[in-house]
């Protein structure tokens, strides 16, 4: 595999990366410039699907499938479903006012500048990988590291931690395992996000209930 990929001048990996990235960006713009909500949802499917393609290309099949399942299969189905349930006329179109355009452009532009400046600040990303021509579609083997990080183990810091253990800074506990000091990983942000989502869900349920109850009661009283 390695010799095969090194032997060519055309880096097929980059070609597919560009293809997926262009599809994702093009349809993200299409979402902005269309006024029909269902078409927006459709363009969003393509854009998010292409993003999932980027994940598959990076060898992160699990994250790619997750993207398809949660965003494309979950969120967007609910979005289209909601539009269909609440549709007043056959095809809803949204008109964006001039002021909204300016506000949105300011917010989006700031975000873009921020992201680009951050992206260029990462040292490793400035130059291509030295083994760029040897990349395979599945450079990352599995999701063990992400999974471990979510339960609080920073696998990228294990060696630092190993050294600390060797120097006697960290003592093995009763079970003979080393206590994981200062290795909270992504556990805290993960928990914060999930609690935040829970609060949002409860709030949404409360709002939806309060709105629906009043007419339902009056309808039942008139029946009696």
């Amino acid at each position: 595999m390695m010799s095969l990929l090194a032997a060519t001048a055309i880096n097929w990996h980059s070609i597919f990366f560009l293809l997926f990235a262009l599809v994702a960006c093009f349809f993200a713009l299409a979402v902005l410039f269309t006024s029909n909500i269902v078409r927006m949802a459709f363009y969003l499917i393509l854009s998010l699907g292409a993003t999932a393609g980027l994940f598959f290309l990076a060898g992160a099949a699990f994250v790619g499938a997750m993207q398809l399942m949660i965003y494309v299969g979950g969120t967007l189905v609910l979005l289209v479903f909601g539009v269909m349930l609440t549709a007043q006329q056959s095809f809803i179109s949204m008109k964006t006012k001039g002021g909204d355009w300016i506000l949105a452009a300011a917010a989006g532009g700031t975000m873009l500048v921020l992201l680009i400046s951050i992206a260029f600040r990462v040292e490793d990303w400035r130059a291509g990988r030295p083994d760029g021509d040897q990349l395979t579609a599945a450079d990352v083997e599995d999701t063990t590291r992400i999974g471990a990080a979510f339960i609080g183990v920073r696998t990228d810091k294990l060696d630092v931690y190993d050294d600390a253990a060797k120097d006697g800074e960290s003592e093995p506990d009763a079970a003979g395992q080393l206590t994981l000091q200062g290795m909270s990983g992504y556990l805290l942000p993960f928990e914060i996000v999930s609690i935040h989502l829970l609060v949002v869900l409860i709030g949404a349920a409360y709002l939806a209930r309060a709105k629906k109850r009043a007419p339902a009661r009056s309808a039942s009283t008139t029946q009696r």
Partner: protein
């Protein structure tokens, strides 16, 4: 062969083209991808041809008719081809009130989602277009997208019947994805892998080794899975989206000609895909009821470093036929159900999902976990082909674990530096 897994030592199709034909890499990959896609699209298309003929014959027999008898000889073999010719000849109508772009694209979205599931579906050991270590999850995720075609078709047709069909379909599919995923979780939990090739290979040997006989709860959960799968591919008795008696034809009412038939190709494609998934997860995949090839010593599994062997190839071919046969049995049962049971009402569909399928699958999940942890013997232990640890929680097996986890390898750069420094010190 079709195996293009990055972990496999046998050469992939792309590598073959590159080394034997001296093609540039990009071209070799393109050619290999085209071959895989061509083979799979034939599985879907020819499968649909055969299944539509089967459906006509089965429905005919169940209703005490003969079904097609004339086209293509005695059994009406070529009836579907005649249907296809008729559909091509039909006018492709787009209603005036429709959202033309979405209306025209919707069938292809359905078909693309159904077809994408085949990319990760292995047909025999290593015979898979794209080997994924999370194939189960990928197939579930992709099959969930098929509903988009139906929803968009319902919405863009600009017709009330179609809109109702689309709404029912989305409510149904979103609901049934929950118990279906829980059912799939059981074999995944028992084997400890989302890799379909691995899941099928731990079930080698006699039929008692199939995961459906792993414990009583997997046995129950298979039936729940089959119910949910039938509902998620929108087949009767769950075909609310196209209920003829209430909604004329539901989401595909405004479609005619070839676009209409593409919806049905997608439907038959996903029927085969969910049945194939059931065959791998519960019925041993390509491992037959009786391990003939194991007895005569022809190995399915390609031993790394060994040359290509005809016996192994033939065993794999027979395994592929075995797998297809099992999936076809699943499809036939779906047809049998369709022509036997009356259609449910929408509230009954929802009740079946949330009040029966979800609690049963959740309860079975917990009980099967307890059964596995307690290591209680069941049918799987009658004639085990592999040692028990290789089937149950084989991920605990130390050698495998050391080889599979990243923990030993991710520290490589630093570890290498450290060894270099130590070497220098010495």
């Amino acid at each position: 062969m079709l195996g293009s897994g990055w972990k496999r030592t046998s050469p992939t199709v792309a590598e073959y083209f590159h080394s034997a034909w001296q093609l540039p890499t990009a071209l070799a990959y393109l050619l290999a991808a085209l071959i895989h896609c061509f083979l799979l699209i034939n599985v879907v298309a020819v499968g649909a041809l055969v299944f539509i003929w089967m459906e006509r014959k089965i429905s005919g027999r169940i209703q005490d008719r003969l079904g097609p008898t004339r086209v293509g000889g005695r059994f009406g073999w070529l009836q579907t081809l005649a249907d296809g010719v008729k559909l091509i000849a039909k006018e492709d109508i787009t209603p005036g009130g429709a959202d033309a772009m979405l209306f025209k694209l919707a069938p292809y979205i359905s078909f693309a989602a159904s077809y994408a599931a085949y990319l990760a579906l292995p047909f025999a050991d290593g015979w898979v277009a794209q080997y994924l270590s999370v194939a189960v999850f990928f197939i579930l995720a992709v099959m969930g997208l098929e509903v988009f075609g139906v929803i968009l078709a319902g919405y863009s047709s600009g017709s009330k019947w179609s809109l109702f069909g689309g709404m029912r379909e989305s409510a149904q599919v979103v609901s049934y994805e929950v118990p279906m995923a829980m059912c799939v979780l059981l074999p995944v939990m028992i084997v400890g892998s989302m890799d379909l090739v691995k899941i099928a290979n731990v079930q080698a040997g006699l039929l008692t080794n199939w995961l459906i006989f792993h414990d009583p709860f997997t046995f129950i959960v298979f039936w729940v899975y089959f119910t949910c799968a039938t509902a998620s591919v929108n087949r009767a008795p769950f075909d609310l989206a196209e209920a003829e008696s209430e909604l004329v034809a539901g989401f595909h009412m405004e479609y005619s000609g070839l676009r209409w038939s593409i919806f049905f190709m997608a439907e038959y494609g996903s029927m085969f895909a969910v049945s194939g998934l059931a065959a791998i997860l519960f019925f041993g995949g390509w491992h037959g009821p009786i391990p003939i090839f194991q007895i005569i010593g022809w190995s399915y599994e390609h031993v790394p470093g060994e040359a290509w062997q005809l016996t192994g190839y033939l065993a794999n071919l027979a395994g592929c036929l075995n797998f297809v046969l099992k999936a076809v049995v699943g499809v036939s049962v779906m047809m049998w159900i369709r022509w036997t049971l009356p259609r449910l009402r929408i509230d009954q569909v929802m009740t079946t999902c949330w009040k029966y399928c979800v609690p049963i699958s959740a309860g079975c999940f917990v009980l099967a976990a307890i059964w596995t942890v307690m290591d209680i013997p069941f049918a799987n232990d009658i004639a085990p082909a592999k040692p028990r640890y290789a089937v149950r929680e084989f991920w605990l097996e130390q050698e495998n674990r050391a080889a599979a986890t990243e923990f030993s390898r991710i520290q490589l750069p630093v570890a290498a530096n450290r060894t270099a420094a130590e070497g220098g010190a010495r």
